[in-house]
């Protein structure tokens, strides 16, 4: 039986789905907001409480925190948790988006709408030198583009506003070196990460004391998995960028990746004609660097169903991870989030 992404489903996959979908032996839960009758918290309640604890701890212990807002699903969850952590107050920090100018147009529209709806202070920073030099993924390649328009731009923004703590939505299940990064991750005044010199994190006690010039990257979603993120978005009804849902979009196929033609800056190769295909994105970044997948999943349950069957991890769509085994660890040491 053909599946929506064109791959044939084999018996093993079906068995997996069968085991996933079989009715639970435990009774159905109370609403997520309230405690279960036995006061046993569910996995999402425990994750939510831990993240809120981290958000509050940073606000209490640092002078000038900021939340990195990348517009993706993880940022959506992190922002939602911040709204909860400080309610009825607004989160006492601004959002910062590092705009490479190559994000999907729908992402930018969603970003501005979200900030307006929630009444939050949104800072947008673009590397002015990079902009002046016309740095872009098509002309300079993904490595230079990422270095100048993301890593350098991020450092500029943190320095410019004097932020001493920045929340990021990274999860430990995304990548091997992240699995060993602390929730409070210290950076030198040069924004470098030293994986050999991390502070132990015991119980729920975080040591947020910084040396002069140091800043902290804080990852409140460290212990969430991709599945947890989707389940939480579903349960809490959190708005996400429509690009996550399947729709007919113009794409070209390059090096096995489906690249969406989001604007006319995309140079087409001779004979290359964008095709309308029903696609969606599992992860969002700069449009020329983000591959779409064929999909019919146009609702959250459909996305989650697809995820449960997927045998390809989400970062595969990202071109920057493929430059050798230790790629992410190197980028992080250089100051990448």
């Amino acid at each position: 039986m053909p599946l929506h992404d064109g791959r044939a489903i084999d018996v093993k996959d079906a068995a997996v789905l069968d085991s996933i979908l079989k009715p639970p032996s435990s009774p159905l839960p109370a609403a997520l907001a309230g405690a279960l009758p036995s006061h046993r918290l569910t996995h999402l309640q425990r994750l939510e409480a831990e993240s809120i604890h981290i958000l509050r701890e940073v606000v209490a212990e640092t002078q000038n925190p900021v939340m990195m807002y990348s517009i993706g699903k993880d940022s959506a969850v992190m922002l939602h948790l911040a709204m909860k952590a400080f309610y009825p107050a607004k989160p006492p920090f601004p959002l910062l988006h590092v705009d490479t100018t190559w994000k999907f147009r729908e992402m930018i529209a969603f970003r501005d709408q979200r900030a307006a709806d929630l009444g939050l202070d949104l800072l947008v920073h673009t590397n002015p030198e990079g902009l002046a030099r016309g740095i872009g993924p098509f002309t300079h390649g993904s490595a230079v583009h990422t270095q100048v328009m993301k890593t350098e731009a991020l450092k500029q923004a943190l320095d410019r506003y004097g932020f001493d703590a920045a929340f990021g939505g990274a999860r430990r299940d995304e990548e091997k070196s992240r699995a060993k990064e602390r929730i409070f991750s210290f950076r030198t005044d040069q924004h470098r990460w030293d994986p050999k010199n991390q502070r132990p994190e015991l119980w729920q006690l975080y040591n947020a004391r910084k040396n002069k010039g140091e800043s902290i990257r804080v990852f409140p979603l460290s212990n969430w998995t991709e599945l947890d993120i989707w389940e939480y978005i579903y349960v809490e009804n959190i708005p996400i960028v429509p690009l996550y849902f399947a729709a007919d979009r113009p794409v070209v196929e390059r090096d096995g990746a489906l690249i969406m033609v989001d604007d006319d800056r995309m140079p087409l190769k001779p004979g290359e004609v964008p095709q309308q295909r029903r696609v969606r994105f599992r992860t969002l970044g700069c449009y020329p660097l983000t591959g779409a997948i064929d999909s019919d999943a146009d609702s959250l349950p459909a996305i989650i169903r697809e995820m449960l069957l997927a045998r390809t991890s989400e970062r595969q769509g990202r071109v920057i991870d493929r430059d050798g085994g230790a790629s992410m660890e190197q980028k992080k040491q250089e100051g990448y989030f």
Partner: protein, 644 residues
């Protein structure tokens, strides 16, 4: 379900997913750590758990296959350890050097695994991983049995308060899946674990490499009838017992969006809370009631341990970050000195007397290590005298804090009883601490800002009771008067309670029956205690004939605060003096129940001071008592350093 009935993305498939998602919401979370020696196959086991629970994606698998061929240790077969050993430096060394967290899900549960290294020098990482774990897997190589490392891991697991143990006897394939080998290892381990109070042990024979008994029982060990490793992890009870304890909310952040709202945000560390509950704020001791449990999703009727909430109270009281909002019954401890186990985590050794920052709950306060009682050899559990602690050493210490803080002992609550020490210059986390007990127990039932200590410090003296006992006419009041004059002349603040005087006022309604004598002494003892709280030196001159009542008075007061002075005058001498003519009246039958005549006097068996009035004058006796008092205070100073 056969492949041809697999739900499509149409209506039916989606509703099935919705049912699945509803079920996911009752899924629980189990956090565990894996502990083993370098070669026990820990990373392999975790890689196997990820692989067998289908948590690996195609691209990760193909990367694993490529890596296994390139740097694998399994001759080209899948080397699961490569999945887990994340940092490039350790991939080259072939060992795990830090704590790594891994995630996998089954139908029943979500799991967070802390992979902690087995190297001796990395005790700190294991303690870090264990601090958040509900369960520990102790991995043993079936070929080697219980090793010193096994003992160390088990000691640390027990120290950190993990009670549930899985004893995973690995590499059974290399021992021919022999039941006798398994049973020998398990018996050896159980015998050792009993010393550590670890009794909830599930032993499972495994081969992580081959996959035996990880997710499925294999035919290789038909003699084993227990659960698989996954089967056990999925079903072991992880009820959060803290929900049954008295309520604790360490205040993380005071939420003041406008003048009309003041909320106290934090993660509930124990118990449950409902609007209307009476609470006490510690360390201040102020009382109030819970008004609302505020969340973004609306107010709650009840919240329990583990939830992050915001409370409002019915009264406007002063609460700051670091305070604990506590149940009225069973409130948290408050003290500025404590005994704690320290695990040292820094290259720079512990320096007793140096101020560190102590962070417990949301409270940070300067603290010094006052004394180090001993360190513990983590392999043999032997206690050794020491002057310092070095990296990865564990010891028992007393700490002295700049101000009283609220906490619980670690045994009762990890989140309010565990602390870290931070170096004030490098800002490094240098130690993990587990509170064993409060040393100076500051009574938490009243506002503590001005307490006995503060009052007595202002007077520059050590408050106590000098309890003069003896027969009527023995000379108690005469001597007590002289002692009070001396103390007064030396600038001490005193009060003399004399039996005859008190009987004219406070105890006017009491006679001389046994019951009234007991009540007489009880009242005087309580009054003395209040006066000691006021910082006074109290001289009590009472016949107080019964040992039991004098003991009651002693027990009302703190250690060293009650000094029993036996004014020892034989009955014949006292009766011979008969200053007030009372003995004559008693002998004439006009004073019933007179001590020494028709009511007994029980002389003290071991008084703090004995005055033989036949051997010294009243003046000499008073000098003697005054000298002894000064000496007692000096001795006490040596003990706790407080000024008289």
């Amino acid at each position: 379900m056969a492949p041809d009935t697999l739900p499509s993305t149409g209506e039916a498939g989606v509703s099935e997913i919705e049912r699945y998602l509803a079920a996911q919401q009752s899924k629980s979370l189990l956090r565990f750590i894996t502990c083993g020696s370098v070669d026990d196959g820990k990373s392999t086991l975790i890689g196997r758990l990820l692989y067998d629970s289908k948590m690996l994606f195609e691209d990760q698998l193909s990367a694993l296959e490529a890596d296994s061929r390139k740097v694998g240790t399994q001759g080209g077969d899948l080397d699961f350890a490569l999945l887990v050993d994340g940092l490039s430096a350790e991939r080259e060394q072939g060992i795990t050097i830090d704590v790594a967290y891994r995630f996998f899900n089954t139908d029943q549960r979500k799991f967070i695994v802390a992979d902690t290294p087995g190297h001796e020098q990395y005790t700190r990482n294991m303690v870090t991983g264990a601090s958040t774990a509900d369960l520990a897997i102790i991995l043993i190589d079936a070929r080697k049995g219980v090793l010193p490392q096994t003992r160390r891991h088990s000691f640390l697991v027990s120290l950190l308060g993990i009670r549930k143990i899985v004893l995973a006897v690995n590499k059974m394939d290399l021992m021919g899946y022999d039941q006798a080998v398994f049973e020998r290892v398990v018996a050896e381990y159980r015998a050792f674990a009993r010393q550590l109070d670890l009794t909830d042990i599930q032993a499972i024979p495994l081969s992580a490499l081959k996959g035996d008994n990880v997710t499925t029982l294999t035919g290789a060990m038909p003699w084993y009838q227990g659960p698989t490793l996954i089967g056990h992890l999925e079903t072991v009870a992880v009820t959060d017992l803290r929900a049954n304890d008295p309520f604790r909310l360490p205040v993380q952040w005071v939420n003041r969006p406008n003048l009309d709202f003041r909320g106290y945000a934090g993660t509930i560390a124990a118990g449950t809370v409902r609007p209307g509950d009476r609470i006490r704020v510690l360390p201040s001791g102020q009382e109030s009631r819970v008004a609302r449990i505020v969340t973004h999703d609306g107010d709650l009727d009840v919240a329990a341990a583990g939830q992050s909430v915001t409370l409002t109270l019915t009264d406007e009281i002063d609460i700051s970050r670091g305070d604990i909002i506590s149940a009225l019954d069973g409130a948290a401890e408050v003290a500025d000195q404590m005994e704690a186990t320290l695990v040292w985590m820094s290259e720079a050794p512990l320096l007793p007397g140096r101020p560190y920052i102590l962070k417990v709950g949301a409270k940070s306060v300067p603290a010094t290590v006052a004394t180090l009682k001993h360190k513990i050899n983590v392999n043999t559990l032997e206690q050794l005298a020491t002057k310092t602690l070095s990296l990865n050493e564990v010891g028992l210490a007393t700490l002295s804090l700049d101000q009283p803080v609220a906490f619980d002992v670690y045994r009762h609550n990890r989140d309010t009883g565990g602390f870290i020490l931070i170096d004030r210059l490098t800002n490094e986390t240098v130690a993990a601490g587990l509170i064993r007990s409060a040393i100076v127990r500051t009574v938490p039932w009243q506002i503590l800002d001005v307490d006995k200590r503060a009052r007595s410090q202002m007077k520059g003296q050590r408050p106590r009771v000098l309890w003069f006992t003896g027969l009527s006419g023995a000379g108690k009041s005469t001597i007590a008067n002289l002692v009070e004059k001396k103390l007064h002349a030396h600038g001490r603040h005193t009060m003399l309670l004399d039996g005859d005087n008190v009987r004219q006022g406070l105890n006017r309604n009491l006679g001389f029956t046994d019951a009234d004598r007991v009540e007489n002494v009880r009242r005087v003892a309580e009054v003395s205690k209040l006066m000691v709280d006021a910082g006074l030196i109290v001289l009590v001159s009472f016949i107080s004939p019964y040992r039991a009542e004098r003991r009651m008075a002693r027990e009302l007061l703190g250690p060293g605060e009650f000094l029993e002075v036996f004014v020892d005058t034989p009955l014949s001498v006292a009766e011979g003096r008969d200053v007030k003519g009372l003995y004559a009246k008693a002998r004439a039958g006009k004073l019933p129940n007179f001590t020494g005549i028709d009511s007994p006097y029980e002389p003290p068996e071991s008084p703090d001071v004995r005055i033989d009035t036949q051997a010294m004058t009243a003046e000499q006796a008073a000098n003697h008592i005054f000298t002894l008092l000064s000496r007692f205070d000096e001795d006490a100073d040596l003990v706790d350093g407080a000024a008289i």
